[in-house]
């Protein structure tokens, strides 16, 4: 598994996909958070609103921060120093690789599902 201490230059794609899978029931929130942060750094409330806007899902505060805590511990995101009480987060290089690997894997699953659905609908 990729870890914060992993030397730079190592391609973590395959392993980090597993890392997100290892988030269990937080894999969904983690993907949403990473996707939101791929646009720009955001604090908790901005993340909630952005995710609600692009995914139609409102992450409850406890779930959001449970996922943020895990993502930060795994080195996939990092907090930015701020004078505001609301601390923004941004993606790390490892987080970018992890998100890409995870979304690629999801796209493969989506492609297979859509192809098979098209087959059924074609027969019907």
């Amino acid at each position: 598994m990729a870890s914060p201490g992993q030397p730079s230059g190592i391609e973590p794609a395959a392993d980090t996909a597993v890392a997100l899978g290892g988030f269990g029931r937080y894999a969904g929130p983690a993907t949403l958070i990473l996707s939101s942060l791929a646009e720009a750094p955001k604090h908790g409330y901005a993340l909630t609103k952005d995710i609600e806007a692009f995914a139609g899902v409102r992450l409850a505060p406890g779930t959001l921060y449970e996922a943020l805590t895990r993502l930060e511990r795994q080195g996939l995101i990092e907090a930015i120093e701020s004078d505001d009480r609301r601390r923004p987060y941004r993606l790390t290089a490892l987080g970018i690789s992890a998100l890409r690997a995870h979304l690629d894997m999801q796209r493969r699953v989506t492609d297979v599902g859509l192809r098979r659905l098209a087959g059924i609908e074609g027969v019907a």
Binding site: A19, T48, G62, T63, T69, R70, R87
Partner: protein, 335 residues
């Protein structure tokens, strides 16, 4: 009248109490800010309250190694092993309480049913296994503590080591005393050679676990016991808690190498398997109903209650072991 912003901040502060102190220190301020913004948008939501409570409890569990994917692999294994240690200790306390009563019974007479005799032999063999596993697990950890002391790096280990030592000595001295001067019909008799284990071992473990007793539900009977024994029944759990707290804190605070973590995990898996076997043997005895001769092996509500606690301790140990094993492949390879 309290301004709405202050009220929201107080509500946020109340919800924050679900989380452990370390978490609050790191995320408390920003999480409160998020909650205040949420309250402004949706003043009341029981789902949100439940979500915060669940996440707070999960954050507390993370430090015990009972949630996966939240810690570094080595930290996860170490936290899981510490929790496993505590779960096995609770299991063993209740297992010893049951087993010692039965072994003392066998000093008087052999059980008159084959299932109870079989259960007793199996439980005795498993106790031997538990002792061997405990020694094998403790020795390298104790050696690690000694090395740290010699290097002058044991500042964080003094308190848990002292707790472990004091609790262990108090438990050993008290159990030895009450095993020799116990109340009539049990301790103090030189029964060696008539049961599956020596009478000295049986009465020592019986005295050590005297606090696990149905007499707590019968205060009138309890008052008729000598005051020193009642005091021991009340004090010995504190000594046990000191031993367990000291041992788990040492496991958590000592830097264990990946190799040692793997070794301890293997012992932990064996201990978990032994726990299942012990539970099965205890169930066999309870289903058989124990009985005679002279009701020496009779089962009671305290035994069924003990079995339930042991099953819960096993569930915790199993969860801890599963997470420790899951994190093992992610450890640095052995040199």
């Amino acid at each position: 009248m309290i301004p709405p912003v202050d009220r929201a901040q107080r509500r946020a502060a109340r919800l924050l109490r679900w989380y452990p102190k370390a978490w609050r220190r790191r995320y408390g301020e920003e999480f409160s800010a998020l909650l205040v913004a949420e309250f402004a948008e949706r003043p009341s939501s029981w789902r949100r309250t439940a979500d915060v409570a669940c996440s707070g409890l999960l954050a507390r569990l993370t430090n015990t190694g009972l949630t996966g994917g939240a810690l570094e692999p080595a930290a996860q294994i170490q936290a899981s092993l510490a929790t496993l240690c505590a779960a096995v200790a609770v299991f063993l306390a209740f297992a010893l309480a049951i087993w010692s009563q039965l072994t003392i019974g066998w000093q008087w007479s052999r059980p008159d049913t084959a299932p109870t005799a079989l259960a007793m032999v199996a439980m005795s063999a498993l106790m031997l296994l538990f002792v061997s596993l405990a020694l094998l697990a403790a020795l390298p950890v104790a050696w690690g503590v000694v090395l740290r002391v010699r290097r002058g790096q044991a500042a964080r280990l003094w308190v848990p080591s002292l707790l472990l030592l004091l609790g262990g000595v108090a438990l050993a001295v008290g159990a030895r005393h009450f095993a020799q001067h116990g109340w009539p019909g049990t301790g103090g008799h030189p029964w060696a050679g008539r049961g599956v284990v020596s009478g000295a071992v049986g009465s020592f473990t019986w005295a050590a676990t005297l606090s696990i007793s149905a007499y707590w539900a019968h205060p009138n009977v309890l008052l008729s016991f000598p005051a020193a024994e009642v005091a021991w029944m009340a004090a010995s759990p504190i000594a046990m808690i000191c031993v367990v707290a000291g041992a788990t804190q040492i496991v958590r605070r000592l830097d264990l190498s990946p190799r040692l973590l793997r070794y301890e995990s293997r012992l932990g898996s064996t201990a978990a398997a032994a726990m299942i076997a012990f539970l099965a043997a205890a169930c066999l005895w309870i289903i058989d109903g124990g009985g005679g001769p002279r009701s020496l092996f009779q089962t009671g509500a305290i035994d069924v209650g003990g079995l339930v606690v042991m099953a819960l301790a096993f569930a915790v140990a199993h969860r801890a072991m599963r997470l420790a094993r899951g994190a093992q492949p992610l450890l640095a390879p052995p040199r």
